[in-house]
Symmetry: C2
Subunit: 400 residues, 2 copies
Amino acid sequence: MYNKLNTCELTPRKDIENRIRHLQAEMAKQGISFSIILHNVGLFYFTGSIQRGVLFIPVDGEPIYMVEKNMERASIETPLKMTPIRNNRDAREILHDKLNNRNICGMELDVLPVLVFEKWKTLLGMDNIVDISPTVRQLRMVKSAFEIDQIRHSGRIVSQVFVKAGEIVRANAKEVDIAAMLEAEGRMLGHQGFLRMRGLNQEMLNIYITHGYSGTIFSGCDVPISGFGVTHAIAQGPSIQVLQQDMPILIDYGGGYNGYITDETRVYVIGTLKEIFKKAYDTAREIIDDAAAFGRVGVDATEIYGRALRLARRAHLEDHFMGYGKGKVSFIGHGLGLEINEWPVITAKHHTVLQEGMVFAYEPKFIFPGEGAIGIEVDFIVRKNGLERVTDSPVDIHYL
Amino acid sequence: MYNKLNTCELTPRKDIENRIRHLQAEMAKQGISFSIILHNVGLFYFTGSIQRGVLFIPVDGEPIYMVEKNMERASIETPLKMTPIRNNRDAREILHDKLNNRNICGMELDVLPVLVFEKWKTLLGMDNIVDISPTVRQLRMVKSAFEIDQIRHSGRIVSQVFVKAGEIVRANAKEVDIAAMLEAEGRMLGHQGFLRMRGLNQEMLNIYITHGYSGTIFSGCDVPISGFGVTHAIAQGPSIQVLQQDMPILIDYGGGYNGYITDETRVYVIGTLKEIFKKAYDTAREIIDDAAAFGRVGVDATEIYGRALRLARRAHLEDHFMGYGKGKVSFIGHGLGLEINEWPVITAKHHTVLQEGMVFAYEPKFIFPGEGAIGIEVDFIVRKNGLERVTDSPVDIHYL
């Protein structure tokens, strides 16, 4: 029954073993005795299964996946050694003789709520708990062949949804209605249902359709364009605004397949476009082509950001690049994987030397207050000789 | 433009003022000098606006909403005094002369990540920070007339989606395809896009369609039925299983309107039902009718749970009630509001005396391993003389 219903590939044993070995090597360097993983994404990454449980990874030797429920499902999904537990106290019993008060414990403190942390401090009877999250995020930044396969599958959902958009986007439809239909289309094509974004208040929709006014306002989210939403209680996403002719309509859609996220944006136009939008679109395209040609293993992410900014400047579009005024964001790209805000971040702010197998979304966008927004977003895989597109979905404007 | 696009009602000034006054009264009792609210749901509840910002609530006097972005939008939405900030350091400057090291600060430590907490401890230069979340959750448990209106609107989306389900559920369709279509329907009817659930790893879909096998397996989530999902990377939600005749199909759908969540479940059957399912359904219905007649202001939630359990026992269905084996959950109802796991919880474990204006989902469900699951979920508002249904959607089995 399981194999009939879960047609997604399980994480290969080799991948799980590699991930744990690399984490252990980093832990050894940092003097960490063991890590306790509690966050869903961490559990999935290191075990291959998301169940209610606790993952114990010692700096040497075998990890233990302590599973509260559901053992049966977890045992199909993870190659790791498992132990059933009823609650956290059982976990303590199991760990009791493995710990001493000279130990240093690693936990993902960027996502772990204070009260959960305090409970674990008491359970473990230790104070010396350090943040393992930068190490985990570093590790996750480079994707295996298996992961790239999942990302490509995720990207195929995106490509198909963009084709469907060309069929159904029409004047006078509400942004949110078109979004609803495309979201349903994606789900029927195998979309996992939602996208994960790491951190406090990082809320996320699967699809953003914006045009004119809704493309120019900025929300509290750390993205250049996030729409108006249908209520101030969410304050992002497609709105009830009806689609106008002669205006760039931006569709920003996140694929999600077997945990892995892709994220691309295309422009749809009913009618024609003003010169300013055409110019900005051509610049966005130039920025993408330039990155694809220049980016490769060994290049620093800040250089890619710098080149994009120079191209925007040369087109006299700097003020509109990646937002306007207080809505400006400081990055042009973000890593993709199990979460939509992975590393590397393509920004002037942080140096990251690109490595084979990194995957990131690259999104040159221009916002013109009082007018609208335009831009493109494509996903790249870092290779020795350049950046490779995740999808083969054309980036041309869809004139309808 | 704002009013044209946001057709949802803003939170009335009176509600915001009441909420803050009540929080301040509780803070005074607990000796808390001020609270700092950073979590989206808390920001929305106390300000009426979700923007990137920091809410400072002193035990006496006026709160300050410090907004990083977007001030323009926030100024329409909140009646509170606002101050623009560029970052948290600006917030510190503003708060500097209001604080001293004898102060006790309240924060929502059940949702605040450790690293964010540590940063704020440093910013405020203080160690004495206590958890304000039980107080906030207590406050939010009783809904105002305005909130009940939003919940009723949210419930109307649910009722309409259940009608639509009666039109589109058909044999040999995939659970996930029907789910996708119904989710789109809800979105076009005004659904806000996603549902909020409080706490670590509390991931949530808008709709669950399960039947047969998929209704009987249990996930890591703290719910009796959450489905198989389309991938083990999510491990919950509708699956690719195709709908069978003569089997209860459960549709569990969460409405979301203007922030407020409703959550009901209905049964659809293509053909006929086995006796065991009919009996369990009748028992579920009896449990609901009993609660509606017995529940009212002043009744303890544990009594309601106890009565439900006795009815399940009387029908010799105790083993199947609210899960089976390790999949059993200990509650039959959960509070509704801005989050889907609000208080009161209807369980034997915690005493809560029902008060006028509490709202909760009540979900007697029975799981038969190897067979399937059946049950009903309706939302109730607590009134002086009984429990009032949120929707008027009939609970009968939809025979198709």
